[in-house]
Assembly symmetry: C2
Homo-oligomer: 295 residues x 2
């Protein structure tokens, strides 16, 4: 099923589950804040489950009564962790034993730099996983094209929710993307941009090590951003505001956490659309702003 | 605000109103059945209000306690009536006296054949009208582009609902449509297709008069379809099924009514995308199928 980006994929599933009487969906903590708000807006409760270096804490999930869990096993947003094999197995067991649904946001699966990407959970348990992907990171978010591979029992409900939300997604761009994939152009595009993004990531990490030595990057070598943990003494909001005053746009991470006030200060540094010289000058400027605030 | 077609415009407003505590929206009876279902899916009740030759019966609306009304004053779907000036004035009074919202579906305003189109209600009471239009009839529904002109007090809520539903509409096609409008191409397109659609309508009506003499077309000279009232003795479903068996696709009208079983049998005949010879042969075939069923 084609959706308007990944957000609508999540929303369509949330509404489908709500119509079946499911009242709560577990989410990663932290997770992409918009997904959390979109699920709440669809009339469900969210139950935040901690993410550590092995991904979502499935043991914590077991202690809650939820009908579904939204998880990005390939690359948890924003901290960048990858779900371990043990956790994946445990997650599938949870779904099978509890009649639960795993909503798999295959976030950044295309942009793993240090090894081949790990396969999706969906292939291991297709009747318990709703697989969601989109073209926003690989091509552009302007396309608003996402997709869902659904368990058979969920297809009718999801199609109905999509129909009643917007009656379908733009057809011209679906056809163009299908042609682009079939022709091999999409695969060529990924092969071309992957090393470029990797160099940008390496540049960012090298620059952070020298210009922002207090910051600790988390997560694996993947994706289009770096998550930077900062010392607890740092005022995240003040740093973001001071950077914007110098036309440097960085995102504070706290709103992606279920309890922003309890989150450790952190920044999300996007490098996907920025040249290496601009990455260096931007991070050098950020380092000097940080140093000024810290003293 | 740009939406994914008119359906999402209606849904975004319905959700915005629901979040403000409004529980019911009045709709035309009959109306486009998908809109009715989409509003119910968004968690609101619908209150059907009869449409007669002067459009929505505003006196009936006054007897209900609703926060908003969805109406297509330029061309009520599917029966094709235009709201009279008296009714328009009464509708605006209702909105002003009851803190109500008129959701104006400016359906088919571009395709009036017998006179200049009547202006939208929105211009008369912009703070009480949410104006909705789309490119589905003028260009193609494949674009999924609609738009809303909203009262100031509703903008923030509607933008939030749109954001949490899909984070925005396809940007490339918005830019292409904007260029098409600015360049004058859109106006030229309308000038070119209007006489063509008018000829198709005239052809359809002439053919109906000879091939389906029992059928009564309703509504003004506008739009891309004819609404055909049939004798009460006619079995609408059987006629639609028999036509499809001969590869002739006509739509039964009853599901657009709030109580389909009480609706007078009727067909919706689309002529927008069909050549005049095909309109003639299709209606001739329909006439013979009708005659067979009637005897």
């Amino acid at each position: 099923m084609i959706t308007s980006g990944l957000t609508q994929a999540v929303v369509v599933i949330a509404r489908s589950l709500r119509a079946r009487g499911i009242e709560a969906i577990a989410i990663e903590d932290p997770c992409f804040g918009f997904h959390r708000e979109a699920i709440v807006n669809a009339g469900l409760r969210v139950v935040p489950i901690a993410v550590d270096q092995d991904g979502l804490d499935v043991a914590e999930l077991l202690s809650h009564n939820v009908g579904a869990v939204l998880v990005a096993p390939a690359h948890s947003y924003p901290t960048g962790e990858v779900m371990s094999t043990l956790r994946r197995t445990a997650l599938i067991s949870w779904a099978q034993n509890n009649d639960g649904l795993i909503i798999e946001d295959d976030y950044d699966a295309e942009f793993r730099y240090d090894r081949s990407p790990i396969g999706a959970i969906q292939g291991l348990a297709p009747e318990r996983v709703a697989y969601a992907g989109c073209a926003s990171k690989t091509l552009t978010p302007a396309l608003r094209l996402g997709w869902l591979a659904l368990p058979g029992w969920l297809v009718g409900d999801a199609v109905l929710q999509k129909l009643l939300d917007d009656m379908g997604s733009t057809v011209l761009e679906q056809l163009a993307l299908a042609r682009f994939i079939e022709s091999g152009g999409f695969a060529r595009h990924l092969r071309r941009v992957r090393p470029s993004y990797r160099r940008r990531r390496d540049t960012a990490l090298a620059c952070i090590a020298t210009e922002l030595p207090d910051a600790v990057p988390t997560g694996v070598a993947a994706g289009l951003h770096v998550y930077l943990e900062l010392p607890r003494s740092c005022d995240e909001t003040a740093l973001v505001v001071a950077a914007r005053e110098q036309n440097l746009i960085v995102e504070g991470a706290s709103w992606h956490w279920s309890v922003p006030s309890a989150a450790r200060p952190a920044l999300i540094i996007g490098y996907g659309a920025i040249s290496e010289p601009a990455i260096r000058s931007g991070l050098t400027l950020l380092g000097s702003i940080y140093a000024q605030l810290a003293h």
